[in-house]
């Protein structure tokens, strides 16, 4: 079921253009076998069992690096700081990664959104769709290189 070897993890890191260190290997493996969506602190505590000399700073840097190259996913902080909205009707937003603009994505989003079901007895209070990317203003600077 999990017959994945060190060799495979190394290949995965290399395939993402990353230099390979035992710290990175340990961090990635920890996350790979974790089901709990751990925070940086939790990953740190976990990895520290095997490599007591590793530092929390390295874990932060490494996770951010992994995220940047698309190796892993980051769940929470969609924007840097909390952002508020008096319009409580539509909870769906497009967030520009460059200028941090948040645009509403109202009507066309609502219907597919509401079709998202709750699973396993989960009691849903809020539903939120976030599209992350680049707005039309910032797009040209970032997507223009090849198109």
């Amino acid at each position: 079921m999990e017959g994945k070897k060190d060799k495979d993890f190394i290949s995965t890191l290399r395939a993402h253009g990353l230099q390979v260190t035992y710290q990175r290997l340990a961090i990635y493996q920890t996350l790979y076998f974790s089901l709990e969506h751990p925070s940086a602190e939790v990953v740190y505590q976990q990895v520290r069992k095997r490599f007591p000399m590793i530092s929390l700073g390295t874990v932060y840097k490494t996770l951010e690096r992994f995220y940047d190259v698309g190796l892993i996913d980051k769940v929470s902080p969609v924007t840097e700081v909390a952002r508020y909205d008096a319009r409580t009707g539509s909870h769906h937003h497009m967030v520009c990664l460059q200028c941090q603009t948040i645009m509403d994505a109202d009507s066309p989003v609502d219907e597919p959104m509401m079709a998202v079901p709750a699973l396993e007895g989960f009691h849903v209070l809020r539903r939120q769709v976030v599209l992350q990317g680049y707005c039309s203003k910032c797009k040209s600077r970032y997507v223009s290189s090849s198109s």
Copy 2:
């Protein structure tokens, strides 16, 4: 178009069980007429133009209060700290507001999710659906009072 009077805002606050102060009025009005999904800091700077003696702490407390009673929406911090995930395929999660557990909501979510369209030339890199609520374990403690 915006013929909403102070009286109306006061009613809105009262309707949400909130005591009325000029600070709350100013904060809510600022947010109500803002289209930019401002941060607490931005709201503070805005309100300060009219009420120079207001404090940032009050803005934080007030916004959080508004959010708690459902008067306003908070866009970003779905979880308290960043949480990571090695499974980059499905970006959809159910977050328990009580125990902070994050569960994957895989297959049944994917299709409606992908139907969410990009608007106004927005270049989408990541799509994220987050269901906030209570997991089956914590639900009983919070939803049991009436059912």
